[in-house]
């Protein structure tokens, strides 16, 4: 496994983790843009643009793009998050050039008026689809409260209203500003022909005009979390279970404690074999009780997700709080740490041997930190974590106490809390 790097004169960076024995090649363009980079008037634009990129360029129609990907046997898709927009394809190695060329050409989309109008309907359907699914918007609302005035407060999809209000000109302007070559990483994993990758990039991306892109981190700006706990209730009478999302502060993506935080969240709230699992899931008291750590450029959080009977939710949340408090008071012991280290190490080795999965580590890692971490680097890091590291995370970022919580489900609104009606 070898790491390779190259930078074009216009600023486009090319990174690859080359595994000669791999059977496939994965290629992706990772654009350093997402919902956090939108203004209020642009809410939902990053994700909408991701869809529009598949609608074609001046020379390629949407049908042609779809036919070409299918003709390569590519597994091609895209995603948008708070901080990244990624376009990717997994192909057999002999299709690397064609996949790279097609993705590269798509990065300069036509953004036609009629496509914009049709695709707007698809985006609205996607919003409705998620609104019909658990946790019925509790996650977006919780993020909005937790992050407050921080740019990460904005949901990725936007709302029906924000999408309907978007003009195509705003998308063209956003694309011009955010899809500068200096703001894009071309990443590849698997059986990569690196020289060929660089040549493709020169040919298809070499004439992209670079623009200065503003700093994304919020220095000294609004901090997430606040000083007081909040509770909001979204009333969804047709729902069977009550869903709860709870967020508290955690280490950010540039904090060395983020690895210990991931180990801690596995100990406390992994979907099997964790403290929450044995206390609540194994006993059949809840459908779900889990916790994970998520980090961003300049912020981090522990997110707890619960699904249970509506009448039990207050009690369940109190017991989760108690699990978190006990961990902070008593710490964790060596056998529990060892067990979870092995569990995560096993998981990472398995994920690491699939190039199409590795792309989503290598690409975003470079986009966020400008550095490369091999699977072996991650395994070494986790192997060296101690009970003291976990204790330090618990002391710096206690999971009990201050948190933003949102419930969604059949539970009637309590007049003593900040209730909201379901957006329909």
């Amino acid at each position: 496994m070898k790491f390779r790097y190259e930078r074009l004169p216009n600023g486009l960076e090319i990174v690859a983790e080359v595994t000669d024995s791999a059977l496939s090649t994965s290629v992706g363009f990772f654009v350093k843009t997402g919902s956090r980079d939108e203004s209020d008037a642009e809410w939902g634009l990053s994700h909408f643009l991701e869809h529009m990129v598949f609608k074609g360029t001046a020379e390629l129609s949407a049908d042609e793009i779809n036919r070409r990907f299918d003709g390569m046997g590519a597994s091609a898709n895209a995603f948008t998050s708070e901080e990244d927009t990624a376009y990717h394809a997994a192909v057999l190695p002999d299709q690397q050039d064609e996949a790279t060329a097609l993705l590269a050409r798509m990065m300069r989309p036509a953004l036609r008026d009629d496509d914009f109008a049709t695709e707007k309907l698809v985006i609205l359907e996607e919003i409705r689809m998620y609104d019909d699914q658990p946790p019925f918007g509790a996650d977006d609302r919780c993020r909005a409260t937790f992050f407050g005035r921080h740019p990460l407060a904005r949901s990725v999809l936007g709302t029906v209203e924000s999408i309907q209000a978007l003009p195509v000109e705003a998308m063209r302007d956003y694309h011009r500003r955010r899809y500068s070559p200096s703001n894009i990483i071309l990443a590849a994993t698997g059986a990569v022909d690196f020289q060929g990758l660089v040549e493709s990039a020169r040919r298809w991306c070499g004439d992209w005009e670079p623009l200065a892109v503003p700093e994304r981190r919020v220095a000294g700006g609004p901090r997430p979390g606040g000083n007081a706990s909040t509770l909001e209730i979204v009333h969804r009478p047709a729902s069977t279970l009550e869903y709860a999302v709870r967020m508290s502060a955690g280490p950010a993506g540039d904090d060395d404690d983020r690895f210990a935080a991931k180990l801690l969240s596995a100990i406390l709230g992994d979907t099997s074999g964790s403290r929450l699992y044995w206390d609540l899931v194994d006993t059949g008291e809840v459908e779900q009780a889990s916790c994970h750590h998520q980090d961003f450029l300049d912020a981090g959080m522990f997110a707890t997700q619960v699904a249970c009977d509506a009448e039990d939710v207050t009690d369940v949340l109190a017991r989760i709080e108690e699990v978190y408090r006990k961990a902070a008071d008593e710490g964790i012991d060596e056998p529990e740490l060892e067990h979870n280290r092995n569990k995560l190490a096993g998981r990472w080795v398995l994920l690491g041997e699939r190039p199409r999965r590795r792309l989503f580590d290598v690409g975003p890692e470079w986009a966020h930190s400008g550095s490369y971490r091999s699977v072996a680097d991650d395994l070494r890091t986790i192997e060296n974590l101690s009970v003291d590291d976990v204790r330090r995370v618990l002391s710096r970022w206690p999971l009990h106490g201050t948190a933003a919580t949102v419930l969604a489900g059949p539970r009637p609104q309590d007049p003593s809390v900040n209730g909201v009606s379901a957006a329909q």
């Binding site: 049908d63 390569m72 279970l241 899931v281 194994d282 459908e287 979870n340 199409r356």
Partner: protein, 415 residues
């Protein structure tokens, strides 16, 4: 492509399959025992799922917690599931941990405690999961579709029915496990960095003297009505359609799945192009192939806002009806390219390959090599797919919708 496939049958009937994938560091193993939901029995829908859950709750002297901690502490990613035909216990791990994991799986299959004090927690867990599926509209519409379309009990939901699960006693669980978790009909598949001779030795030691008999045959009952609307307070209406196609073990299943792939397999497929790309009617639309051993269905799905659901259904039906006689050579080429690439990439996942070789054995009684599987796709022609479509046009559709308002469904959809 060089491929190392192995198989052997133990004296007690267990089929052991292996594939050596030397590029990998991992091994995946899956135990498929014939304790699937078709054996639930009347009024006990969910018995197989509850039994599968109970098997993990103490075995061979280890408690439920000790089992999980031993597996996870060895870096084993474990999974347990119950399908129509099988109860399955699986694990993926770094190769050297296979020796640690195998005896635990042997305990789960051969020596489950099925303790009295774990029944209620296990039942509550199954009921919680059922409540969760009530909140998943896409799952509900597909589950209803299977119930109506397949003859009883093949379409029954393996996750169970609340009222049935509430009434199942421990005796039923014990009887179910004794009758259905047995060597005859069990398939063990292992793929990844394996030493085949070593695997055979270990499996023979752990399972060779397992000699439970039994096993019931299930007779096919009636199918449900042709269409149903499930009232649900959601913004979107979910639409699911099914018609019968040949099961995987029949040679013409390749023609059938190729035709379905043209209809709704990739982003260049007809449904995606017409329903989503051109009309913007929905976010999700697809067609796929779902097979049991003796029956299979073509399944189409879409979810869209209530006001546009009728148009979506009408366009889907029109595309299905338009399919025979119109397949272009270029469309079939795309199907072949996608299938070939997916098969090769599957080799990068030990878990995917363990699942695949087990599936092949269950359906065919043998494992086809990758070369043979690819050759079958290569030999497809427009003429062969069209000939199959002409003889088997989509007809007798089952149509299910879920949402606020029912849709108008034609009495009989045929071409």
């Amino acid at each position: 492509m060089k491929q190392s496939l192995f198989s052997t049958t133990l004296d007690n009937g267990i089929v052991l399959l292996g594939e050596d994938l030397p590029g990998l560091e991992s091994v995946a193993i899956a135990f498929h025992t014939p304790a699937g939901a078709i054996h639930d029995g009347p009024g006990r829908c969910g018995l197989a799922t509850l039994s599968g859950e109970m098997m993990l709750r103490g075995a061979g002297g280890r408690s439920s917690r000790q089992i999980v901690e031993k597996l996870e502490g060895s870096g084993v990613q474990w999974a347990q599931s119950v399908s129509t035909s099988h109860a399955s216990f699986a694990g993926a791990m770094v190769a050297k941990q296979l020796a640690v994991a195998l005896p635990i799986y042997a305990d789960i299959l051969r020596r489950p405690d099925l303790p009295d004090d774990e029944l209620e927690p296990a039942r509550q867990m199954v009921l919680q999961n059922l409540a969760g599926t009530e909140d998943d509209p896409a799952h509900r519409v597909m589950s209803t579709l299977r119930q109506l379309h397949y003859p009883h009990p093949w379409g029954m939901p393996s996750e169970g029915i609340t009222v049935d699960v509430e009434g199942i006693g421990l005796d039923s669980v014990r009887e179910f496990v004794a009758a259905n978790v047995r060597p005859q009909g069990t398939i063990i598949a292992v793929a990844g960095r394996i030493d085949w001779d070593d695997v055979v030795r270990r499996i023979e030691t752990l399972f060779g003297d397992w000699t439970i008999g039994g096993g019931a045959t299930v007779t096919a009952g009636n199918r449900g009505p042709r269409s149903r609307h499930v009232p649900h307070d959601s913004q979107q209406t979910h639409i699911a359609l099914a018609w019968s196609v040949p099961p995987y073990r029949r040679d013409e299943s390749y023609e059938a799945s190729a035709a379905l792939s043209v209809l709704g397999g990739g982003s260049s497929s007809r449904l995606f192009s017409e329903v989503r790309e051109r009309r913007g009617l929905c976010y999700s639309v697809s067609a796929g192939y779902h097979t049991l051993r003796d029956a299979a269905t073509a399944v189409c799905y879409s979810g869209t806002s209530a006001a546009r659901a009728q148009e979506t259904l009408d366009v889907m039906l029109a595309e299905i009806q338009r399919l025979p006689g119109t397949i272009e050579p270029a469309e079939l080429d795309l199907v072949k390219a996608r299938a070939k690439s997916a098969l090769v990439m599957q080799q990068e996942s030990s878990a995917a390959r363990a699942g695949w070789i087990a599936k092949q054995w269950y359906h065919l009684g043998s494992v086809r090599s990758l070369a043979e599987e690819l050759a079958r796709y290569d030999s497809l022609t427009v003429a062969s797919v069209e000939a199959w479509l002409a003889a088997n046009p989509p007809t007798g559709l089952t149509v299910v919708s879920l949402g606020r308002e029912p849709l108008e469904v034609p009495d009989e959809v045929s071409v």
